[in-house]
């Protein structure tokens, strides 16, 4: 019966797709051909910029007035148990991945992250991965570079710089400004989220976003950004800020979504979703940027021994985002207070191989 129904759906699909395609009225007009040429020139320009960037990661470490800017190393030691989660091991969800690897995230260079069972959260099988891992046969993607600047005391405010295209919305209201002498656009909302966007002299699009920064400070920061032969440097990082290249030229070989772990509480209504993204996420999809752009407020929280981003959403949900190794991890928490968020994050630890194997053995299917 199922096969017959599938065949009916398939037949209907053939009809629906064919009819929809027939309604697309498009011709290879001279205008379309010119659009291709414009894109070709744009690509050539970006390649030039990419060559300028070089292959090595660039760390924006500049002396600004009296402040010494230092590199923040996001590398975390695998196997380190931090927070309060060492009294036992949480159940862990099945790591959903496709295309490669087995059931051990370490095979993909990902952390094995688990939550303390004392938190009372029960693991559940996550949904199908929305994105799977597969090679991208076209390596000629746009090049962007993302830099994240946090204040030296690891607290908000925070500055997020994205070179190249950006899909983050400009905070409203937006109005024209000049960055140096270059026309641009500035926007800020009452919640403290602001942005400035302009095109640099070499044609590169520049986007600077910030939490909790005054307009004048943000513009001064933007004006201080220049491109050097080796890449970009922030020459005028606000006092007390540190900067690091968060990601660079990552639109290369692989897609990024890697795994999902889900937990929820039996009675308290808390739901926790832990997603791990491998580094090669195209930067124009940078999850961190989306986290920031959609949040209502931002703060930091201690994650595995380091201060990391905590975003709060208008509906009361939270997202913690951090970079274990070369991945980006996001912990989405619903139905929790800030104190509970702190507890949950403190109950997070990185499991070693033996621990992970035991989890898989004791909880088949999880």
């Amino acid at each position: 019966v199922t096969d017959r129904k599938d065949a009916e759906v398939a037949m209907a699909l053939v009809t629906a797709l064919g009819q929809r395609a027939q309604r697309v009225e498009v011709e290879p007009t001279p205008e379309a051909r010119e659009a291709v040429d414009r894109r070709r020139l744009g690509r050539a320009r970006r390649r030039h910029v990419r060559r300028g960037l070089g292959a090595a990661a660039l760390v924006a470490a500049v002396v600004s007035s009296a402040a010494v800017v230092r590199h923040v190393d996001h590398e975390r030691d695998a196997g380190v148990v931090a927070g309060g989660g060492n009294s036992g091991v949480a159940w862990c969800d099945q790591v959903l991945q496709a295309g490669q690897g087995g059931d051990d995230p370490a095979a993909l260079g990902l952390p094995r992250l688990v939550l303390d069972p004392a938190l009372g959260l029960t693991p559940e099988v996550g949904p199908d991965p929305l994105v799977t891992i597969a090679p991208d046969t076209d390596p000629a993607g746009d090049v962007t570079q993302v830099q994240l600047f946090t204040s030296a005391d690891a607290a908000v405010p925070l500055i997020y710089v994205q070179w190249g295209g950006s899909d983050l919305a400009m905070p409203a209201p937006a109005r024209p400004v000049t960055v140096g002498e270059i026309p641009g656009e500035y926007g800020g909302d009452p919640g403290g989220w602001s942005a400035v966007r302009w095109q640099m002299a070499d044609g590169t699009d520049a986007n600077v976003y910030a939490w909790g920064l005054e307009k004048a400070t943000l513009l001064a920061f933007a004006e201080g950004l220049v491109r050097t032969d080796a890449g970009y440097e922030a020459t005028d990082v606000p006092e007390g800020f540190v900067g690091t290249v968060f990601d660079e030229d990552v639109h290369a070989d692989d897609e990024g979504y890697s795994g999902h772990y889900g937990y929820r509480s039996a009675g308290r209504g808390i739901r926790v979703d832990l997603d791990v993204w491998t580094e090669p996420l195209p930067t124009n999809e940078t999850p961190l940027g989306s986290v920031l752009a959609t949040a209502d407020d931002a703060d930091t929280v201690e994650v595995l021994g380091g201060k990391e981003l905590l975003a709060r959403y208008p509906n009361g949900d939270w997202t913690v985002a951090w970079t274990p190794g070369k991945c980006l991890a996001t912990l989405r928490i619903s139905g929790a207070t800030r104190a509970e968020v702190d507890d949950i994050v403190a109950g997070l630890h990185t499991a070693d191989g033996a621990e992970w194997a035991e989890l898989l053995r004791s909880q088949p299917g999880r």
Partner: protein
């Protein structure tokens, strides 16, 4: 399903019937493709494939505006590498599919991070006249691509697998699961 077998002519005539493991239906004439056809010049390829590629991208993405952008960018890539391409039509198609997949994935990522835990199937009442086409929006990116390549272009599982970088068995599974998902929407 009538599957592609060897070259397609300019009119998009589908080749002979091949054995398949997905439900047997017969798609209409597939979109033309220049995968295995000699192309003399870039402009010739553009004239012949622009329309079919936009139609394919529209089915993959759901709207024509994004489809044209994807196709124009794909042609720009092909132009850059023209001298090195032995099968520019096939390369073009690969670029279109990959870029469409990037866009679909981007939508999924943003949706996921914007607190939408999962893409909920649309209510039947929300579906328009193209209800089955609209329902494709519930599918994860690769499933949608597999379904379009299968039932619009009549591609074989092996061809789809090559385009998506997965095993043919995975394509079979993706198509079956996609059909099951779609059935839930159109037959609640």
């Amino acid at each position: 399903v009538r599957a592609r077998e060897g070259a397609l002519d300019d009119g998009g005539t589908v080749g002979s019937v091949a054995r398949n493991d997905v439900p047997s239906v017969e798609p209409p004439a597939a979109a033309p493709a220049a995968d295995d056809v000699d192309v003399v010049s870039f402009d010739q390829l553009f004239a012949r494939e622009y329309g079919p590629m936009v139609r394919l991208a529209t089915l993959l993405l759901g709207n024509e505006a994004e489809a044209e952008e994807v196709v124009q960018e794909a042609f720009a890539v092909v132009h850059e590498r023209w001298a090195r391409l032995s099968r520019p039509g096939g390369y073009l198609r690969g670029c279109v599919v990959n870029r469409a997949r990037d866009l679909l994935r981007r939508r999924a990522v943003v949706q996921r991070l914007r607190r939408t835990h999962a893409i909920e199937p649309p209510e039947p009442a929300d579906l328009g006249v193209d209800h089955l086409f609209d329902a494709l929006a519930i599918l994860p990116p690769k499933r949608r691509i597999a379904v379009v390549l299968r039932y619009y272009e009549g591609r074989t599982e092996a061809e789809i697998a090559e385009l998506l970088g997965v095993r043919p068995g995975t394509v079979k599974s993706m198509v079956h699961r996609a059909l099951a998902q779609l059935r839930e929407v159109i037959e609640p």
